[in-house]
Symmetry: none
Subunit: 160 residues, 2 copies
DNA sequence: AAACCGCTCATCCTTTTGGGTGATTTTAAA
DNA sequence: TTTAAAATCACCCAAAAGGATGAGCGGTTT
């Protein structure tokens, strides 16, 4: 709202400026046709005017750049409540279903080989998935991945 | 980097444009001094040029407008009773303090080497401890050890 | 003193895990 | 339809983890 008014104000300002300019030019044309530096002045005015107009136009056109600020909000949760998967975090880190599947089997303590057998894929595939997971979770080892994942709410906590 | 190149490209473009304009104007001045619409053309060219220049200038000058998006990130907090170590299980499995120490560092995702540094012992020592732990917990891998330990109440559960 | 235990460390060897890269295929979205 | 992302697999190499075994040291218990 205020933004719009400001822009309108600017616009009106420029319009008024233009009107004044026109009058000024007419006046120059008919009154002092043979003024010594008339041409230079005229050109300068035009230049300055369009320069300002260009600046204004650019400001109008430019799309504002977005900056995201993540604010952590504490939420108290009872242990006994069922685990709720944090899908926001999943999307944020672009973790696929398959990767999450591997992650969860990892957390159960399975080796890559066992995971491969469980999912009917090759060992190499499991490795690829785990490598991507480590990148996305910003960790170096599977144990860290499990820790981090639980903290982020991607895996259910292990309760005795 | 790409941004900078783009800007440079633009800059060079404008420079070239200006040079062409100068030549054009000279040409107009000396060759067709009495051309019918010379003045209007000249002014138009000046106007267009400064309009573009203004746009370019504005883009250069304007500090990027930041639009802040606040994303609330839920952080799970456990208000339940603090973790109670299951000492019975500890005694039953004859797990020593040192072993438990290693186990807990393991659960934090540390490598054997990092654990060794943390405890001021050699890598081999850590390996020995972990090997004994695996025996006592009846597991094969550290990930399983962590899982089992949490289930037995030897380690605090990881809560988001 | 002998036996035992926890802690320490070593060596040798194998398996597992992880990093990097590249390729193909399937699937989903624009 | 073109593009983009996911999922699949391979190969190579390096680092970490694990298994097996032996051994020394400082305590406590008997």
């Amino acid at each position: 709202m205020i933004e719009k008014l400001k822009r309108h104000k600017e616009l009106l300002g420029y319009a008024a400026m233009m009107a004044v300019l026109m009058l000024l030019l007419r006046w120059l044309e008919f009154r002092f046709l043979i003024l010594e530096h008339q041409f230079e002045i005229y050109v300068t005015i035009i230049a300055v005017f369009f320069l300002l107009f260009g600046i204004w136009l650019a400001n109008k056109i430019t799309n504002p750049k977005e900056k995201t600020i993540i604010v952590e909000k504490e939420v108290r949760i009872n242990i006994n409540e069922p685990f709720i998967l944090n899908e926001t975090e999943l999307e944020l880190r672009k973790i696929s279903k398959r990767e999450l599947e591997v992650l969860s089997l990892m957390a159960e303590g399975l080796s890559n080989n066992e995971i491969a057998e469980r999912l009917f894929v090759s060992l190499n595939t499991v490795k690829t998935h785990s490598a991507k997971l480590f990148e996305k979770l910003e960790v170096k080892r599977r144990t860290q991945a499990i820790e981090t994942a639980k903290k982020l709410g991607l895996l259910a906590p292990t309760l005795g």
